[in-house]
């Protein structure tokens, strides 16, 4: 189980129940509140992602059993909500499982891909790419 104790299935269900864009954003903000904050000492340049409108920190660590731990934080709530989704999807999985996550299908099911503007979708894809790279690096 991931750090938020929410399964992918629960996540999709939660979003499917939201009738309007306002409700889907509310859901995202609610998720952001469940994301465990990154330790202050980890909010450093090493984990900082450049080129985002918000400050974003991503920390990917590999456990001895081959599973990965993803922790993340942001100063913006919407981005933090998106990070929470990524943690739900990625945290506690192996490198092979992570490469198989159908991110864009899931975002489509959550109906947030229609909500997010092009530039934020690009930002989200950049974060996914960062995670994939970090996983690949530590797994090699």
């Amino acid at each position: 189980m991931n750090a938020l104790n929410i399964t992918e299935h629960q996540l999709v269900e939660q979003f499917a129940q939201q009738p309007t864009w306002q409700d889907r954003y509310r859901q995202l903000i609610a998720l952001s509140k469940h994301l465990p904050p990154l330790a202050v000492e980890d909010k450093n340049a090493h984990y900082h992602i450049n080129g985002c409108e918000n400050n974003v920190w991503l920390k990917v660590t590999r456990h001895h059993d081959g599973r990965f731990h993803l922790s993340a934080d942001s100063d913006g709530r919407i981005v933090k909500g998106l990070l929470a989704i990524l943690v739900i999807l990625v945290d506690g999985k192996t490198a092979e499982q992570i490469t198989q996550i159908p991110f864009s299908d899931i975002f489509h099911q959550l109906k947030i891909d229609t909500e997010l503007s092009e530039s934020r979708l690009v930002g989200l894809n950049k974060l996914i790419e960062e995670i994939r790279q970090a996983v690949a690096q530590q797994n090699s």
Binding site: W21, Y25, E53, G76, R77, I78, V79, S117, R120
Partner: protein, 399 residues
């Protein structure tokens, strides 16, 4: 003359999309006559300028010079020969830095730049300081976020060669007292460079009576096309400017051993100019003449004021708006500006957020970014209402 806001608004086809456009400080919307003139040039009148003798070519040259004349009239330059076409305000500042400052500055000289400036009126000075050994000195804002004359007097000295200041801040909308500033700058035998990028839309300027040495702006911020700017140079400085870009039509004679440059302004306009933009801007300026700009500005101010007043009731609301500013930059405590921007965008309210290309000013205002609602005369009460409602809806989601 009364300002007919409804008729004014009708001239902007972009407003028919139903979006609330409050990003006029980034770029102003375009009136129909500009769009028509630009499209006519491409559809039926395409020709290069200053070169050929057929009718369209002659007409194109004529239109470029008419527009130059209109710019001169707009800012009260004594002669159209003092108006140089550039790509925009940014290129204009770089031209002054590289064609004037680079040849006049010596090591140890100083360039005073105000803390209000957009990066486009800071970075070119840092570059030329690096090249010449001169130093960039900050003219700091006072406690009211204003540029006071005492502050200028503190940093100006006989080392000061250039003072660079904005006509209007793109963040707070504050307008420094240019008349007083110019007096002090000239008394110290320095030159003044005024960035009109924001001011040009809101405050008619008289460069001659203010005795400004360099004044510049971008056409797109004054209902004109993108990719075009103007640089005004005072007559006595014009002859001191060194050549800038080399290329076609900036010269009288050329051979393998050298060239003799044209006189200004052609000397600084190498290559084919942005003809379509100049023609479009000519149409903009012609259209603009029918409006009472002071009345339009008073109307715009009333909208910004109304928005500020209505948002004031939100707990944690912080306004950075100067007293007579058409620009309302704000924050709400504990709300990240980009979260607000995302949710305003959802509601089809177009604002700008972030550092607004003014990182030093953001540090001074003690924030990482702001939300900016920039009003123009085509906005209306309905836009104010939709902004205020959209902010409340966003807060309802975020809090």
């Amino acid at each position: 003359m009364m300002f007919d806001a409804i008729r004014f608004r009708d001239d902007f086809p972009a407003l028919s999309t139903g979006q609330v456009y409050l990003d006029s400080a980034a770029t102003a919307l375009k009136p129909q006559p500009m769009i028509t003139a630009t499209s006519d040039y491409y559809r039926q009148d395409t020709a290069n300028a200053y070169r050929s003798l057929y009718q369209q070519a002659q007409r194109t040259t004529q239109q470029i010079e008419t527009t130059r004349q209109r710019v001169a009239e707009l800012i009260h330059a004594t002669s159209p020969q003092q108006i140089i076409w550039t790509k925009g305000a940014t290129e204009s500042v770089n031209l002054v830095a590289q064609s004037y400052a680079r040849y006049t500055l010596k090591a140890g000289d100083e360039i005073i730049v105000s803390e209000l400036e957009h990066h486009s009126n800071l970075i070119p000075w840092l570059i030329v300081a690096e090249q010449t050994g001169a130093k960039v000195i900050k003219w700091a804002l006072n406690d009211n976020h204003q540029l006071d004359i005492a502050g200028l007097k503190q940093c100006i000295s006989d080392k000061t060669q250039i003072v660079a200041v904005t006509q209007m801040s793109n963040v707070t909308g504050y307008q420094p007292d240019l008349a007083e500033i110019v007096k002090i700058v000239h008394a110290n035998k320095a030159v003044i460079v005024v960035d009109g990028a924001q001011g040009i839309l809101h405050s008619p300027i008289d460069v001659a009576s203010l005795d400004i040495d360099f004044y510049l702006f971008s056409a797109h911020k004054l209902y004109g096309p993108t990719g075009l700017g103007a640089l005004y140079v005072k007559a006595d400085k014009l002859s001191q400017l060194a050549v800038w870009h080399g290329g076609g039509k900036m010269l009288k004679t050329a051979s393998f051993s050298g060239f003799e440059p044209q006189l200004a302004p052609e000397k600084f306009e190498a290559g084919t100019p942005n003809i379509a933009a100049i023609i479009g801007f000519g149409a903009t300026l012609n259209w603009l003449k029918q409006w009472d700009r002071l009345a339009a500005e008073a109307y715009t101010l009333s909208l910004a004021q109304q928005a500020e007043q209505d948002l004031q009731s939100i707990s944690g609301f912080i306004s950075y708006r100067a007293t007579t500013s058409p620009i309302l930059s704000f924050n709400i405590e504990h709300i990240h500006h980009s979260d607000m921007a995302v949710l305003l965008a959802e509601q089809k309210v177009a604002v700008r957020t972030g550092e607004l290309c003014a990182q030093p000013l953001m540090r001074r205002l003690n924030c990482s970014g702001v939300i900016r609602a920039a009003f123009a005369p085509y906005n209306n009460q309905q836009d104010v209402l939709r902004l205020v409602n959209a902010v409340h809806t966003a807060l309802d989601i975020l809090r």
